[in-house]
């Protein structure tokens, strides 16, 4: 599989670097807003991605990496909130399983936070920073050279052709 060449820091405009950095900070704000239900922050993250995708692959990569890494973190947080509410409402025990989950979610949040800060700083410098799994996934998605669509698949043509 072939990939587009990566731009070097001095080839990237400052504006683009700032937009790429914004992707990480934007996710923090929306993550806090959408804590009980991940819908709000995920929708906001997707909108941010679509608005900025035209600004080039560098922004697209960082936005997508941030978006992808936010999905599991949001789901884990929502799971924790739901589990806590159910425990309170049904007067259930806070078992070791629950506390283990809580610590796991807290670790995930912390790791997400630290990696996002590093990602933002690197993006501002015009450097690529790959998160485990999400980084490669975003790179694969954004920089993969897709085969050109054949002319015959075009559906809209001028009249008479």
């Amino acid at each position: 599989m072939e990939y587009h060449p990566l731009p070097q820091p001095d080839q990237i405009e400052t504006r683009v670097k700032e937009d790429a950095m914004g992707a990480y900070f934007m996710m923090f704000a929306t993550a806090a807003l959408g804590l009980p239900l991940p819908i709000i922050n995920l929708v906001a993250a997707i909108i941010y991605y679509y608005v900025n995708r035209e600004k080039g692959r560098f922004v697209q990569f960082h936005t997508l990496q941030s978006l992808y890494s936010q999905i599991p973190v949001s789901l884990l947080n929502s799971g924790l909130v739901a589990w806590t509410i159910v425990n309170f409402v049904k007067d259930l025990n806070f078992t070791g399983f629950y506390w283990g989950y809580l610590i796991m979610v807290a670790t995930a949040d912390l790791v997400y936070f630290i990696f996002s800060i590093i990602g933002a700083v690197k993006a501002r410098k015009g450097v690529f920073y790959y998160f485990l799994f999400f980084g490669k996934l975003a790179y694969h998605q954004v920089y993969r050279i897709r085969p050109e669509r054949a002319q015959s698949t075009l559906r809209n043509r001028p009249p008479g052709q």
Partner: protein, 259 residues
């Protein structure tokens, strides 16, 4: 590339799954184990001493009753070989039908409760229920939650007296009662005593018209109500090869010794 992406995903899932698993095995703050068993036993002994000083809980010294309790308690304890507690069953003279748990495996039983039971198995069922509160650490967790460790471990005689007073009418929440009921059924089954005997005790308590006599009895003072507990108890399914063995006691003789 796809293979390394998949490998990374597996690493992530493995690491976080492991974190969850490892931290699930720890003990957490509301775990009453914050007080050692040894300390719990010491506290329990001082509470029992103080409770028995109260004229309402005068200890009954009767060798017939004591040996009957040793037989029943021994049978239940034998079915609980992994228990960290050494149980001590103490009978006190009272017209009130009552039994309650004091930390450290001390279970206090009123003479009226013994008289109320028609068979030793019925008393065994109540004792097994109380042992459930001990094993599940309901008393300790309740005391820690309500009073905090500092007060609980206080050496002040007044504070100790107040805690002792609280213990004789402790009530548990619904979940704890259900846990103790289930524990009792399982323990009775292991001890070759009909596990649904608890339903008989509940039915008789429900029929008891003089509610003043039951005022302090935790079994009846808390939710869920008795009829739903009778239903739960009757739902219990012993193993297919379960065979009940009678507790070999002259129960009428034991009851006569109370008079």
């Amino acid at each position: 590339m796809q293979r390394t992406i998949l490998r990374d995903l597996l690493i992530l899932l493995g690491v976080f799954g492991l974190i969850w698993l490892v931290f699930s095995l720890f003990s957490y703050p509301d775990d009453p184990q914050l007080i050692s068993k040894q300390k719990e036993e010491q506290l329990g002994d001082s509470y029992v001493e103080l409770i028995l000083l109260n004229p309402m809980f005068e200890k009954l010294d009767n060798s017939v009753v004591d040996s009957a309790l040793l037989v029943i308690g021994g049978r239940l304890e034998d079915a609980l070989p992994d228990s960290e507690y050494h149980y001590d069953f103490v009978v006190f003279e009272s017209e009130m039908i009552n039994a309650f748990t004091v930390p450290g495996g001390n279970i206090l039983i009123s003479s009226a409760l013994i008289a109320f039971c028609d068979t030793p198995e019925e008393l065994a069922a109540v004792m097994a229920h109380e042992m459930g509160h001990v094993e599940k650490q309901h008393v300790m967790s309740r005391l820690i939650k309500e009073l905090g460790i500092e007060i609980l471990t206080s050496r002040d005689q007044f504070v100790l007296g107040e805690i002792a007073g609280m213990l004789s009418s402790t009530s548990f929440d619904r979940k704890q009662e259900e846990e103790a009921d289930l524990f009792a059924a399982q323990l009775l089954e292991r001890a070759a005593i009909e596990p649904r005997t608890l339903a008989t005790v509940f039915r008789k308590l429900e029929k008891e018209t003089d509610w003043d006599l039951l005022e302090d009895f935790e079994i009846v003072s808390t939710h869920p109500n008795l009829s739903s507990r009778i239903r739960e108890s009757l739902h219990y399914k012993p193993a297919a090869d379960f065979q009940a063995e009678r507790i070999d006691l002259d129960w009428e003789g034991v009851k006569a010794a109370l008079l």
